[in-house]
Symmetry: C2
Subunit: 225 residues, 2 copies
């Protein structure tokens, strides 16, 4: 069978900035949608894996270093690209604040973080891809500790609370939330304090990933509902 379909990868890259969920967008250098904002991505090379293709495209367009990557969904509607049929295997990625610095590289005209609740019009069907990624992130936050890949290595407990409230878009019962998270035994409370606003200095925490993987092997379920 003759088949003229191309395969691309695209990545929805999330960062948590100024207490808001942000997404990394590039300004397209070439037609179609030249000058429009889009999620980073491009065609897969024949000899590279899909993951390698995502990482290469992110490097070529945004120079970002990602802290977490997983496949999201494949988008294949016949007319999603005006040139010819392109199937996009979309990924979603998370970036810690220490990696928020980005700069457009050869393949993009510009690159910037945008709060997800204040986005420009996006190229192609990228609004649909982004919506799917937001839903995945929101769901996953409740059953896997991936939120820590959006926070600095050391964080205040209140940062974690705010992150959950922001992304889940709802108030959480702070006392229950703390009790639950602490009962999991996956956070280390450090001997370092910082002052935030007018409050008393508070202790910094660190996510103990090794401990989490150990507990997970023993059947432990992370569950924030």
């Amino acid at each position: 069978m003759k088949q003229n379909i191309r395969v691309a990868v695209d990545a929805v890259v999330f960062g948590y900035k100024n207490d808001e969920l942000n997404v990394l967008l590039i300004k397209r250098k070439v037609a179609p949608f030249q000058g429009s904002w889009a999620i980073p991505g491009g065609l897969v090379k024949e000899e590279e894996s899909l993951e390698t293709a995502v990482e290469r495209e992110l490097k070529e367009e945004t120079n970002v270093t990602i802290d977490y990557l997983e496949q999201l969904y494949s988008f294949g509607a016949p007319n999603r690209d005006p040139r010819n049929r392109v199937i996009s295997v979309a990924y979603f990625a998370l970036v810690k604040p220490s990696h928020h610095d980005i700069k457009a590289d050869t393949d993009a005209q510009d690159v910037a973080w945008f709060p997800t609740n204040n986005l420009p019009k996006l190229a192609f069907d990228h609004d649909i891809i982004l919506e799917k990624a937001k839903t995945r992130l929101r769901n996953k936050l409740t059953y896997e500790p991936i939120g820590f890949d959006l926070l600095s290595t050391k964080f205040l407990f209140s940062d974690l609370e705010k992150l959950y409230m922001t992304i889940l878009e709802k108030k959480i019962d702070r006392r229950n939330f703390r009790k639950k998270i602490m009962s999991f035994d996956i956070l280390e409370e450090l001997d370092e304090k910082v002052s935030e606003g007018r409050g008393r200095p508070a202790n910094l925490f660190k996510f103990n990933k090794k401990q989490y993987f150990k507990l997970q092997k023993e059947g432990f379920l992370f569950d924030i509902k």
Copy 2:
């Protein structure tokens, strides 16, 4: 950029037969892996959506009628097909007992249900795809009522219990399970009884999908953990 990658769809089709999780396999008619068992699938046509391609391939190879379909994951390792690079967008599907009858059609040499714990050697990377589908089904069973798409429209409560124990591969506390499921208010207890084995006649149940969608809109979370 020149690109010589083809796009296929494959489907892991699950049925629940003789108290076991089964998967629908076809015997390949052509090389490579001629005569080997494989999950059904094939190349996407240029003008059809990915879902249409899955449904067409299932019809052409197995004649099965499916009751549930969702995209699973895309598999794109460079050497997964000995001919040339093929990316497979894999789906998983569920089939109710009333649709278990199947027969090989033009594009397959044979077609059969196999218990997932007693499988022949599979073509390509289909063992990896199947494993991913089993994990998805197992997880999804705990947070969405998709198990009903593996049961007859009318079923005994004990059938539902057995289904969960079989697929989750663990004992469940029957009393808690029943209490939980009944508290969701998504099952209708019918005025029909059947006898099973030596036990007393038991009532048949029906899943009320409309009620589930209504509750879901109101924020209800199906949750069996």
